[in-house]
Symmetry: C2
Subunit: 407 residues, 2 copies
């Protein structure tokens, strides 16, 4: 008999079906037991009345992997209005011991460190796994939006010889006896590939040896990167980003999640008009600006050059400011981007002549590059904003930080 | 005026358009100059007759970034049957010097090391960039096929504490003063995630410190990984792989590439019937088997356990063989896969009790895992087979090997 998923039971009322999944929970009453079976689609309630089967089931630990053949029946009390009767069970695999996490609760009660230490089990919780289904939908929407706009997906190397941001948070790799680094971003390569495909994106891991243990930084995260050639300035880049974010929200909604409608034109404010007397915004500034504008999405443009990386394009006429932007979403920065320098001599000047470590990168500019710009969006932060998670570790499958390298 | 791509000229005959791109080549005749402009869509021929403009253009180096307004006209000799007349050019960016690669040739004449040393320019060659457009189409097809089958995309950490294959080719990372490794594969995490989503895939970088300088190994490559729960044995995994590969070929054809039709049932042969008196196939064996069968695609199943990793499921009744497979494509192994162990006690036995380094991984099995299996396909090797490239470095944007760490 073909396997049926729990999500497909409603159209099989009265039929005999075969389900497979995990023993999520069992509730024993005086004369019967309710077995909750969990599969990738959701939960199904199995009613066990035969005393021999009640006894068989009573011996099982949570997370026992089971198959069950049973008859689908309507039931007002059960999940999705159906339950399974007259079950015949087969055990596919037995847990070695009682799981360390109580998956049966609607919300996990364990502390975050316990949840992360036991991620292989904790991620099975329906609420926890939903965050990663949302991540998958978001990435799908990102790609679809950019594919429609003529972008080409690339994969760039993660073992590199130079820092793209500051040299302070680089991880060192022993590369056949030589020192190398883990890429902090695909920045140099996505710019280089503008010379090839004009419009490129990459979804991949980036690495930051963050020495601070905060709720919004990780040593490894997933970056959604894009870079676009033949732009006039950063506003062209912001228009593409708007399409990407709208695509992500649309895919999320299609997958059954709440996600905002992205305005056709996301409002923006220049850094000089934020009232901030510094070279960067604090988290409190970001929250305040979103509140003041009553905007879920808000661009801040023109960040001072002092706080942006060397490849940033200055603002024509006001060179202390830059053609850069951040996108704030619900009070937090989730995207950084901007127009880049594109002339070789501007790079040589920006690097103060220290070009040796950037030789490969600078080749792209030496041999003709159009005006271009791009952006990077942190996937885990995006999902945290959408789900309301307070800590980015809740939206990372297996987080890596100062103290955590396993599981 | 909106920009027009070179691929869209045929529907604009008689119109004035604006193009942007790179000066691919110019051919000077006695009374006129042909300028070949390259953009992401292809090439367009611009006819320059005005002596002042001929002189302007003559001064430009190849790869000068230009815009041109001109009139589209039919022309039998020109690419795609159209050319541009009465051009007015604007220079967007000038190269600093003559490019080290002659991009104007139909095939690059430079040696592979020269091409790789100058990848930022060499990748702009129309033939070279096609390989990476094919890679992007293949990945798109892979994801689409698995999305249709109910898979969820995941992103697993690349900084890890243990080897998934042999410990011999691990790269070491300095992780905040502690030693860690770069993941040789997402194997442990994709298996773990079968406990969460049943069916998962990942497209991402993997790292192998290969001490051999061969035409088919790299220190970093892109792995297309999938893992599937609730299988009977490795034949269920092979059926999913067939769908994935068919999806990749279909997407490649849709993008304009030659790609084979994948048979509904890919033929297979058990290792015991290959006539090979060893525990693995040599490259010569792989070529011979494909030739003997007259098969573009051929599964070899049942590889001896001696050559497969510790998580491999043995063949029931013949424990010296395994429920594993390789997929050969045009005489070369491009996919490795199989059924995995799923019982905790089997892992403890397979690891000879040395479970300390695998604690996080083993949690998945300790708390109930269904029979499962999966596969991994190397993207660069796949594209090399499709394009006929002899060296995998030709289908890798920025290869990493024993001797190469830049660009």
């Amino acid at each position: 008999m073909e396997r049926t998923l729990t999500g497909d039971l409603r159209v099989r009322i009265g039929k005999r079906v075969r389900l497979a999944g995990w023993l999520h929970h069992q509730r024993r009453l005086a004369r019967l037991t309710f077995v909750l079976l969990r599969d990738r689609a959701g939960l199904a309630q199995v009613v066990v009345e035969d005393p021999a089967v009640v006894e068989q089931v009573a011996a099982w630990l949570p997370e026992t992997v089971i198959e069950v053949e049973a008859t689908v029946a309507e039931s007002e009390q059960a999940p999705a209005g159906v339950e399974l009767r007259d079950p015949a069970f087969t055990v596919l695999a037995e847990p070695a011991e009682q799981p360390p996490i109580e998956l049966r609760r609607p919300e996990l009660k364990e502390s975050l460190p316990t949840i992360l230490d036991n991620a292989p089990v904790a991620l099975r919780h329906p609420r926890r796994r939903e965050a990663f289904r949302l991540a998958a939908a978001s990435v799908r929407g990102f790609r679809a939006a950019l594919d429609r706009l003529g972008f080409t997906e690339i994969q760039s190397p993660k073992i590199v010889v130079s820092a793209t941001e500051t040299g302070a948070n680089l991880f060192t790799v022993d590369y056949f006896g030589r020192p190398a680094f883990l890429a902090q971003s695909p920045q140099f390569y996505k710019q280089t590939m503008v010379g090839v495909f004009e419009r490129v994106y990459e979804v991949g891991p980036v690495f930051r040896a963050e020495p601070h243990d905060t709720s919004r930084h990780l040593a490894e995260y997933v970056s959604l990167d894009a870079e676009i050639g033949f732009v006039r300035d950063h506003f062209d880049v912001m228009r593409v980003l708007r399409e990407a974010v709208a695509g992500m929200c649309e895919a999320a909604r299609k997958a059954g999640f709440d996600a905002p409608e992205v305005p056709t034109e996301i409002p923006w404010i220049h850094f000089a008009d934020t009232g901030v007397d510094d070279v960067d915004l604090s988290p409190a500034d970001e929250r305040r600006l979103c509140e003041e504008r009553g905007a879920e999405f808000l661009f801040v443009t023109g960040y001072p050059m002092a706080k942006r990386p060397f490849y940033t394009h200055p603002e024509p006429g006001r060179p202390e400011y830059s053609n850069s932007f951040d996108l704030l979403f619900r009070g937090l920065e989730i995207v950084t981007g901007g127009q880049r320098l594109h002339r070789y001599e501007d790079y040589v000047a920006a690097l103060d002549g220290n070009t040796a470590a950037f030789e490969g990168y600078l080749q792209a500019f030496k041999f003709g590059m159009p005006p271009h710009g791009g952006f990077a969006l942190g996937l885990e932060r995006w999902v945290a904003r959408l789900t309301g998670a307070q800590n980015i570790r809740e939206t990372t499958l297996f987080p890596r930080d100062l103290n955590r390298l396993t599981p």
